[in-house]
């Protein structure tokens, strides 16, 4: 029987991936927010199509529209959101240093913006509602000038209610090619992989909170995995293929741990640059909003499953358990790949261009931190059984929340009860009360400590807008293979030192990229001022 609107727009306990009895006293509890969902019965909604590549040259214009779309997932129909009626949104393909114009139109009922994640573009076009622009209301437009200063894989998404808008499908990639020959190794095939999850039960999409996100504690983990927007992603390759994958995690909260059916993986690049040195890895952990570029060698014929393999936690039983999601299948068959790049693959490159680039800031590595932040959480008015269970449970909290280990409690917590906090150690200021000032060209060391002594600590992928940074140290250990990033994940109890290059003037934000944590306050502001004219050197 098809679900009706009345069926779907009620709170339903989200499905759980473990056996866990209902917590006494919470049998009938629902989140203290109204449920919200796009009208699943809406008429005349266009059927969405898979993402298309849009190649743009410097100065070109793209028209981008956010609308309702109709999609099929696992054979079931859903009304969701999309950019240009595609899932994911169009793949914008450009050459580094290009600037393109994106005329964005919002055809959704709710206001939205577009943030160009990872791009060091003009501050006016960063897409942060309330900071760099007003929200774009239904029927209105906003014109972005999108500048691509760095080679790599980037993504665009709303910067309002990401927990709902992004989850409903508003995301797309930008693939920035180098103008230089041989920037990456030559490979047989290239593929963009967008990793996501969606929370669905037998009635349909589990509603989102209308005015405040649900799942404010751990973020909304989906139970249906999507690769490039589908549940049955597949790829065909010839034996011997060396493939380059551009991975982006667009999930609200889930960190993936990706393997390719045991095929050898070489990690090449991350958010904003290549690594100093390519290295072989056995899996690729990708936190929300992070990107990794990896090369994989499919030497022999066979079926290779792309999997997310984690040690999940069952808090009720107090146990770890292995959990594997199959995210897609790669069929390797037929005539051997030609040319054979297998030999090149086995030799990891040293990227002297990246090393030279990092050299420009190496002199700052040993300086004391300029800023120190601690990450914590404050809760009010949560149901008593949740408070009891959480407090009893925090003897051990895993460094990373790979699964929603407390689905009921998590679902019931909303942004009105939970405040996630970034606290400035020097001033005691929190979240958007923090407004740091820097000068253009400053190299700033920020030490961030993820305080385990809080009500419910969790890992946080920290994103810095408009700049690039290096993760210099984790827990006092120097990182010996650096890469420029815009997002880095900090496990519970750990400390990381970021070296941020303040290369782009304007009013920016740094925040946790777990969508619900961002909505629950976990963000700060900073301004990069154009350097005052220096005395004597430039007055002529």
């Amino acid at each position: 029987m098809p679900a009706t609107a009345a069926d779907t727009l009620v709170w339903r306990m989200p499905p759980m991936d473990m056996s866990m009895p209902m917590m006494p006293g919470l049998e009938d509890a629902v989140p203290p927010a109204l449920p919200a969902l796009p009208d699943q019965q809406a008429m005349g909604i266009p059927v969405a199509r898979p993402s298309e590549v849009v190649s743009l040259a410097d100065g070109d214009t793209l028209h981008l529209e956010a609308t309702l779309i109709r999609r099929q997932l696992g054979g079931r129909p859903f009304v969701m959101y999309g950019y240009n009626q595609q899932y994911p949104g169009p793949l914008i393909s450009v050459t580094r240093a290009a600037t393109v114009v994106v005329v964005f139109k919002n055809e959704l009922e709710e206001p939205t913006t577009v943030h160009w994640h990872g791009l060091r573009l003009d501050n006016r076009f960063d897409g942060v509602a309330g900071l760099t622009q007003a929200p774009v209301a239904q029927g209105e437009s906003f014109t972005y000038e999108v500048f691509f200063p760095d080679t790599g894989i980037y993504w665009y998404h709303p910067h309002m209610r990401e927990d709902m808008q992004q989850d409903l499908g508003l995301y797309g990639n930008m693939l920035v090619h180098s103008e230089r020959e041989g920037y990456y190794s030559t490979v047989n095939l290239e593929e963009v992989l967008v990793l996501d999850d969606l929370l669905i039960d037998s009635h349909g999409l589990i509603p989102w909170g209308q005015t405040s996100p649900t799942h404010a504690l751990m973020g909304r983990f989906g139970n249906v995995m999507l690769t490039n927007g589908v549940t049955d992603y597949s790829l065909a390759a010839a034996p011997g293929t060396v493939a380059r994958f551009y991975l982006t995690n667009v999930a609200n909260a889930r960190t993936f741990n990706i393997t390719f059916g045991g095929a050898p993986i070489k990690v090449v690049a991350s958010d904003v640059s290549k690594f100093e040195r390519e290295v072989f890895v056995e899996s690729v952990p990708v936190a929300p909003a992070e990107r990794y570029v990896v090369e994989v060698h499919f030497e022999h014929p066979g079926e290779y499953a792309i999997t997310n393999a984690v040690q999940a936690i069952n808090h009720f039983r107090g146990e770890f358990y292995p959990h594997v999601d199959t995210l897609g299948m790669i069929s390797v068959a037929g005539a051997p790949a030609a040319p054979d790049y297998g030999e090149d693959f086995r030799v990891p490159r040293t990227n002297t261009d990246v090393i030279a680039d990092v050299d420009s800031v190496r002199g700052f590595f040993d300086r004391p931190p300029d800023k120190e932040l601690s990450l914590t959480v404050r809760v009010t008015n949560l149901p008593v059984p949740i408070m009891m269970a959480m407090e009893a449970d925090t003897l051990y909290v895993p460094p990373m929340e790979w699964n929603d280990a407390m689905p009921m409690m998590n679902w019931l917590s909303t942004g009105s009860q939970v405040t996630w906090i970034m606290r400035d150690a020097a001033t005691g200021k929190e979240n958007m009360d923090i407004r740091w000032d820097f000068a253009l060209g400053d190299i700033v060391k920020v030490r961030i400590f993820n305080d385990p002594k809080s009500f419910h600590p969790m890992n946080h992928p920290i994103h810095v807008h408009g700049q690039r940074f290096l993760v210099l140290e984790m827990d006092g250990r120097r990182n010996t293979n650096l890469v420029w990033k815009d997002t880095a994940v900090l496990p519970v109890g750990s400390t990381m030192d970021l070296l941020i290059e303040m290369s782009n003037p304007g009013d920016w934000m740094a925040h946790c990229h777990i969508a619900e944590h961002l909505s629950a306050g976990m963000m700060l502001g900073f301004t990069v001022h154009r350097a005052p004219p220096s005395k004597g050197s430039s007055g002529d």
């Binding site: 890895v281 056995e282 899996s283 039983r317 107090g318 292995p322 003897l395 984790m474 006092g476 496990p491």
Partner: protein, 168 residues
């Protein structure tokens, strides 16, 4: 002067470089002496966990286990009249054991077990091929993950019978 130098060497041996500046307190495993070896009764120690080097900051196995470098540091452990102190890692059920080595300076090892014990024993010799300890346990500690325990029968689940979930 000589005394000072000796002390400095001792201290540098006891305090692993790189861990002192920003110790990941949350993942420090305290080692607690048993009463079985008199020379060890005043001993204190800890196993420090840091992620093994990885391009991703966090370090996990293909199956998702955290990969830790373990560094064992023990102080005030007087030499035993006979035998050698040896450090081990073990799964909580003692089914799997890894020998870290004799306790001379700082002891380093690696693990990717979800829950584990750090054990110091007094062995008759420093034989490297020993697969399990034979001597008395001198000190032991439990990974923080080992504190995670079933909620059945506790807190809000007080009425939930443990036995249903395999606990007795």
């Amino acid at each position: 002067m000589t005394t000072f130098l000796a002390l400095a060497i001792l201290l540098s041996g006891a305090a692993p470089a790189g861990l002192c500046e920003a110790p990941p307190e949350y993942y420090k495993i305290d080692l607690v002496p048993t009463r079985r070896v008199p020379a060890a009764r005043q001993a204190t120690g800890a196993a420090h966990l840091t992620y093994t080097e990885s391009p991703f900051g966090i370090s996990v196995s293909p199956a998702g286990h955290y990969r830790y470098d373990v560094e064992v540091v023990v102080e005030n452990l007087r030499p035993a009249p006979a035998g050698v102190y040896v450090a081990w890692l073990s799964t909580p059920n003692l089914k799997e054991v890894v020998r870290l080595g004799p306790l001379t300076d700082a002891i380093r090892g690696r693990t990717e077990w979800n829950k584990f014990l750090v054990i110091i024993t007094l062995e008759s010799s420093a034989r490297a091929n020993q697969s399990r300890w034979q001597g008395p346990v001198v000190m032991r500690g439990l990974s923080r993950s080992g504190l995670m325990h079933t909620m059945a029968g506790h807190g809000p689940y007080e009425q939930e019978p443990c036995t249903v979930y395999g606990y007795y």
